[in-house]
Subunit: 137 residues, 2 copies
Amino acid sequence: MGTARGYEVRPIGHVESPLVDPATAPKQGFEGAPEAWVVLDEAVAEGAADLAAGAEVFVLTWLDRARRDVLAVHPRDDLSNPLTGVFSTRSPDRPNPIGLHRVTVAAVDGLRVLVRDLEALDGTPVVDLKPVIAGGR
Amino acid sequence: MGTARGYEVRPIGHVESPLVDPATAPKQGFEGAPEAWVVLDEAVAEGAADLAAGAEVFVLTWLDRARRDVLAVHPRDDLSNPLTGVFSTRSPDRPNPIGLHRVTVAAVDGLRVLVRDLEALDGTPVVDLKPVIAGGR
């Protein structure tokens, strides 16, 4: 089936956030994440032209500090939780460490997009933005 | 900032679906998509061990038939819709053509996961599965 072929994800920007320490960062954006900036590259400016304050957006990141060789984890790093296959968890450690973050756009300043509820660490590469549609899809 | 560095996404499986024609496939899963199979590779079996019928899951795909050089589109291929930056649309054409599909698991048969509401075309590479948490996140 050719599922072994890889594809190149190219960052379109990065996260600027006060969150720098994985150990203390919230595990989910709604668990007390600060405001953060998604800073887009000039090359994709046209794609971002219609982003506006108030938009509900999925930010997709590449969790570049994650481990790709992990297939089961104790959810939330709590050893009292049973070892669980990563596809049933939101662990950053997984074969393709793509972060999925639902955020609200608070402001747009050119290529800088201020968002609420983003738990990604400072410097994390951003690979896509998508509007939330139809009840969280 | 090093945002130019690329990363390799490696498929973990593929879609088996009666949908083979992009022109007639539904644009969103809730718009009449048939049941489809997500067929996972043996190498990631441990990661899928806790998937079960009834789970609400985001399937992430690599839309390998999309164009990566498109930054603005007429939403829903309707020319009466104004040209819109792709990060404000769910167009498959975008710099990183990662598909985000919210589905319900209907059944699990080993490495084959039957899902409802998946509009991806037959043969589309699958790159991640994540549980839906906290109201659509």
